[in-house]
Symmetry: C2
Subunit: 204 residues, 2 copies
Amino acid sequence: MRSSRLPSVSPEIEKLIDLLAKVPGLGRRSAQRAALALLKKRDTLLAPLAQALVEASEKVKACSACGSLDAMDPCAICASPTRDQGLICVVGEVGDVWALERAGVFRGRYHVLGGVLSALDGVRPEDLRVGKLVERAAAPEVREVIIALNATVDGQTTAHYLTERLQGVDVAVTRLAHGVPVGGELELLDEGTLLAALTSRRPF
Amino acid sequence: MRSSRLPSVSPEIEKLIDLLAKVPGLGRRSAQRAALALLKKRDTLLAPLAQALVEASEKVKACSACGSLDAMDPCAICASPTRDQGLICVVGEVGDVWALERAGVFRGRYHVLGGVLSALDGVRPEDLRVGKLVERAAAPEVREVIIALNATVDGQTTAHYLTERLQGVDVAVTRLAHGVPVGGELELLDEGTLLAALTSRRPF
């Protein structure tokens, strides 16, 4: 493998490329392109980006209720009076909150676990925000906890664990439906999904 | 098209995503992932990146001789006593300097034009560092100017223009060879490349 280090580049540029290459989505080559583009657009891109990074770092915190990220605590979603206080949707990461908000399909509140249980990665229940979930679920206004974890082995293991932990709490515990993705082709789906879609079939 | 704006995200995060999405190589979705990753790794990635951006912005300048980017002026390559002062390699952008330096195949100095002539984009000779090239090429130690512009229509138009401009100067003007890329398959090459490779064939 040929190294893509640049022997004759200044340490300032090298450092910038090194850090950009650690940003998910950018490899080393694209980090070099990004560094050049940033240096070309100093006033319109580089300086504002540096500023935005500092501001986000200073102001954005995890919500003490749901664990999502916001400049307010509690976050805008937890604090909103228009969101259904009776529904809590449990997700693994903040990115999942964003995915559901993008879709605009859920009007309750969230609970971000901060990951899923994983024997391989050594993630234990005490590493996740499980205690806080049980505490929130026990609030009198909460009717239902929707477990919206990834449909992976670890995600489903975590879902089962949460169901057990929530057994003493007087709430309905539900999970997202499995089935054919909208726009998905049957031919390309795995057996597990097809089985789930078939057994959960609905009247037309 | 569904918008991927996040209605319930704080302006600080939204701003960060907006700017990250302008970095070449990151689309809007990957900018969201990048923003989350940065906020997760505040001390190890976000803060150092903000710092590196500021430092690069303050220290990195265009070399007054060759136009490449460095924290020194003249740049490390122009200032190096071990590089052949008799050879100037003309490239379009700083990224081309980096590509050649990565390959480690050229031991002379560079000249970055800052683009190529383009009727479509309105790039005229006076927008490029052509005068400076003629001036540098006229220095007594310079033997050869190698034109290493992209093999595109604009690149080749620019190459012809430079050849004309350098006609009064006592230097050899050469260009990169056209031919089959190393590792390239004949079947996938265009006619122009095949013709160039055939007419420039070399004895085994």
